[in-house]
Symmetry: C2
DNA sequence: AATTCCGGAGAACAGTTGTTAACTGCATGG
DNA sequence: CCATGCAGTTAACAACTGTTCTCCGGAATT
């Protein structure tokens, strides 16, 4: 099935990835709406015009970055929310997993948090789209849980979105604490855990 | 106490406000990190150099905008969260109030949501600072409620931050639906209400 | 082996940016 | 009434931007 692509397309994808990586790096200290295409090509060491061989504009590149950052995260989300063990265990696992993911891919997370409400409409739309898909995933997993018996479909989706937003908030908190001490990060993990716990408690008593 | 300032300082504050207003308008379709000072002065109809009489940089202007957008909101927050009537009544009142505030000041809210994780550090810091103060306000009001008896201080602050974040999320949702139909906005209000309700339920059963 | 394809380079374009310096006119305080 | 202060102007600066067109070299195709 997998066709080893010629050295031509290989080179193309290589510079394309270099452009994406360079852009992601530059976006740590600015927003996408101020990212110039020359800036990116300069960072890669390539002519400005080469940019057009890969992206129509920086906004287009941004949409690709959204895909790169969130596209492969769906399985991760599903297994995390999957109702297998205790609620508290699940929460602890989720917080731990978020902390690891942020530490491993800080630039991607920062990009998403920044551009979710950023100044470039297509990118905003792409992020909203991915987050909505996350919410659908979460909803599907929540529906399997016996706790969700008797719930309205709308309320289940509401809760799913609440969880997704919470995960992003948590990620953003860890992001700000990347340079901080171990104790500080532990404190943040504790707060994030308690937030999730409180929401889960609300969930259990929703139908009272 | 109030000293009517001379026609000199009056004119100065007038153009200063014009700069702020023009910037806020331009920021509806871009991020602060891409806002140029010439762009702003051009929109006002004033020489580029005049900008320096009022702000050191666009980042400086941004910090002022944060103050303008959030500075006067503290009393509003306190009275909204104040434990006077039923929890459900309080929530309905809060959602209604947020909807009105967003409809009345969309640009300010958009600016805050956008720059909260935006690319300009001083502005980010100013927003975080204001939000932290909101959380302190909310915590103080929550502490008055008998429901909060026996709560740890940390958990009370955790809940306060959760409420603050929730308000901003709700505001952002209303923002995206400004152009939408009345029914759509009503649907969003319903979802936001349910989110708050679920959190409040979690709060009531926190000490179980 | 000859030809086509195409990622990237190079140069040039009109227009933009932030910042500087020296100025002008008018409200202000003595 | 006159001298000072100061908001805003004008002009100029080097540096930067996105985009177009033309070209090159080497991989891909025939």
């Amino acid at each position: 099935m997998s066709h080893t692509l010629g050295i031509r397309q290989a080179q193309k994808q290589k510079t394309r990835q270099a452009l994406l990586d360079a852009a992601l790096g530059l976006l740590e200290e600015q927003s996408l709406s101020s990212l110039g295409l020359r800036e990116v090509t300069r960072a890669v060491g390539v002519a400005p015009t080469a940019f057009y061989r890969h992206f129509r504009s920086t906004a287009d590149l941004g949409v690709t970055l959204v895909e790169e950052a969130l596209g492969s995260l769906h399985p991760m989300i599903r297994t995390t929310v999957h109702p297998s063990d205790t609620s508290d265990e699940r929460i602890a696992r989720a917080v731990e997993l978020i902390a690891r993911h942020v530490a491993a891919n800080p630039a991607h997370i920062r990009f998403i948090a920044r551009e979710r409400h950023g100044g470039v409409q297509p990118v905003r739309a792409a992020i909203q789209d991915q987050l909505a898909r996350f919410a659908e995933d979460v909803k599907a997993e929540l529906a399997m849980d016996p706790v969700s018996a008797g719930w309205h479909d709308d309320d289940l989706l509401m809760l799913a979105h609440l969880y997704v937003d919470q995960m992003l908030m948590t990620a953003s908190l860890f992001l700000d604490a990347l340079e901080a001490t171990e104790e500080e990060r532990e404190r943040i993990a504790q707060i994030a855990t308690n937030r999730m716990r409180l929401i889960s408690i609300g969930r259990r008593h929703w139908l009272d």
